[in-house]
């Protein structure tokens, strides 16, 4: 077991973990942050996406020890039940959610894009979520939802 300290959604977390434990399992099993999901275990589908020190990462490909000292944002770190993050609101308004399994990862990839590039082109939006697979929506409404936030239109 190895001790690690990291920031998760703005709070300091200290833990003793197995050296081979994946960040995804640490978040889900130890911290009970269940928003990041496992879809493939290979870094292909993006449902386990979290933001680590300003980069989107597939938490299934990162060991928890690698996150020592890092600053992690998961979907639970965005908005809350009283007030949603504009992206969350926009996803609902634009019907960008169907089964919802890819949604947390999608929103985090979009957030990271907008944090760095508040006014992306459509192509840049598409590229930013190209590591997040979705089988329900055909992506169109997801792209529209992100575009609306980028253009400062959250509402209908």
């Amino acid at each position: 077991m190895v001790p690690i300290t990291l920031q998760v959604n703005g709070q300091e977390v200290k833990a003793e973990i197995a050296i081979h434990e994946r960040l995804l399992d640490f978040l889900r099993n130890e911290l009970k942050l269940l928003g990041a999901k496992e879809g493939c275990g290979h870094g292909e589908c993006g449902t386990c996406t979290v933001i680590m020190d300003g980069q989107v990462v597939n938490s299934c490909l990162i060991l928890a020890v690698q996150a020592h000292g890092a600053n992690i944002t998961t979907i639970e770190g965005l908005g809350n039940t009283e007030e949603l993050h504009p992206l969350q609101e926009s996803f609902i308004e634009h019907g960008a959610v169907q089964c919802g399994y890819c949604t947390p990862g999608m929103i985090l990839s979009a957030k990271n894009l907008l944090d760095k590039n508040p006014h992306p082109t459509r192509k840049e939006i598409q590229r930013s979520i190209s590591g997040n697979l979705c089988r329900c929506t055909g992506y169109q409404k997801i792209v529209e939802a992100i575009e609306a936030v980028a253009e400062g239109r959250k509402g209908r």
Partner: protein, 750 residues
Amino acid sequence: MSKVTGRARFADDLSFHGMLFASTVYSQHPHARIKKVDMSKAMDIPEVLAVITPDDVPGSNGVMRGFLVLAGEKVKYVGDGVALVVAKSETAARKGRDAVVVDYEPLPPVLSIDDALKSGASLVHEDKEDNIISKSRYQLKKGDLERGFAEADFIVERTYETQFVAHAYIEPEVVIAVPDFNQEFMTIYGSIQNPFSARAAVAAALGWSVGQVKIVQNAVGGTFGGKDECAILNACRAAIASIKTHRPVKLSLSREESMVEGPKRHPYRFNFKVGVKKDGSILAMKSELIAQGGAYNNKAQFTNWRASIHATGPYNIPNIETRVFGVYTNTIYGGAMRGFSSPQCIFAQESLMDEIAQELDMDPLELRRKNALSPGHTLPDGQLLGEGGLPAPLPDIIDNTARKFKYSKPAQPQEGSVKKGIGIACGFRGAGLGAEAGADATGAIVTVQSDGSITIVSGLTDNGQGLKVAFSQIVAEVLGVSLDRIVYPTTDTSIIPDGGPTVASRGVMIGGRAMEKAALEVKKKILVVAGEILQLDPEKLTIENEEIFSPDNPEKRVSYMDVVSRAYATGQMLAALSWFSTGVPEFDYETGQGKSYPTYSWGMVITEVEVDTETGLVKVNRALSTHDVGTAINPAAIKGQVYGGYVMGQGMAVLEDIEQANGFVKSKNFDEYLIPTAMDIPDIDVLIVETGDTYGPFGGKSVGEPGTEMAAASVANAIAQATGRRIRNLPCNLERVFLGYNLTRQGTAR
């Protein structure tokens, strides 16, 4: 809402006190006799508590028309489960799985349709006479085929083939069995599309009555028809493990396990012979369809029946003979997948139309316009269209779609290595289950609670496609109340009678009708109570914006909440369980003539592609997808279904293929099985056509499957037009587009 905050709970997010984990030992061969299963090394692992084999199945090991909970004597494909290891942790379960040693005696595998039909072929199922799936044969006969051929100016014969396609839902299958030993009761939580089918199988495997098993659906991460046989077998395994260990047991499939074990879209082979007049009229069409069923079959009898009705397309062909059957092979198996044989049929049928147009040197649009089923014609099943019959909007759909898309054939030949092509596909789709399995029926419960909230329960399930919203809207609309009042708990098989599976786009059409009926009954009860308060005839009352009044005397009114309070105070029930059934349709299965479906949805897709002829890369630029939806209940949701459906069809057209070599699956994860990403999507426009069809609730017809079924055909036709080379087997992947053949199809590597 909980889906955007990460708080929605999918099956893998649930855990129960004392929960154990299980892992399935899968077959190492496509076809082999099992000589010995040695579990001693697995049992030596300290955290492993049990290894389960077919001997431990308390009830029936055979479920769902011949599937096995665990294979005991022989394995029929690489996804067969041989044993189940149960352990205190997932890691230990997987370690235990790898430590089980199975001794096999390999048998010659049946790998293709041709293998299956060869004389002297080995038998996939040794208790059967041959490899043909029983009850998978259907035929449709209309007119006089030979006369049609004799009157034709020329004959076109073509063969097309499609591939195994994965549902590729992003959530792999997860099930959890939670036992209650006080009352011999088992609750299954899981990503399961059809809770009632699951309940029947789990009860059979346990040897219990169905009432002792309860299936609770969670948020389901996509299914598209697929979270069925494999999810259900795993539910059976988890339930048995749970009985054996007296603990809750979770079985969570990895992507690889899901890809290898789970159902796929059936590959079909289509042999067509068509008689055509010089003016483009199609006089006769003979088609033979063979489905590759794989190792087990639970669905080919249904997909094939649907195919038998639709195989010749939405065209006025007076003389038709269609025959269809399915075969077993020692490969992954076919199941239900969005479209349920129609994407395959439409690919073949619409490729054929383009090839006929080419023979005639006619514009493909004109050929379709000329032959489109129109008012006064009869459907392949003999049902009348137009006046006194069913709506026939296809001619208008063709004209309007072409106009909106600004359709014109790109000039040929094109300069440069990147060529543009435009492809068309038309389709029609029988609504619901039709005569597939007798009557199509389901129930709904609507209950007004004392606080005015309204709980609705459907026998059908929301799998992410938006049934919850549609049903809530129907009830709110009928009762004239705010949508916020509707509470929709997840499906629970112990609350409502078995309403069949949520398949065949029957969600809104059949489930919605039941919901509408239940809401209307409740409305009647509300009006009776309101009539007592207002001292007016309930028959004359109406509800609007939560107020009940008579339009003759709108001053006198009472609020919905006052009515609810009075009903509760005076002991009157404001609830209804209603049942909607289409009745048993009149249909002759010998000839395929009769009322196959109560109505049809019609549509057309036009797609523009760019093909890089130096690399084989296909870029789908733009598409217009037109759908007759009866009456559009929720246009935004319709578009959502069409966008998603189109992109799934696009994947089938250019990317997706489960590659198998000698019965072993090679594409097991998303690095080898590619599905479209956000970078691949075209500009998709949706044209909604309303036909005033009165069939569904508020006249609504479904669009979940029509949205996907024409896309692959339109993309394939666009590619053929761009390159001048017709690819007759899907997918049109890089090699096929560039070289004309597939590099790996006949590979031998494992």
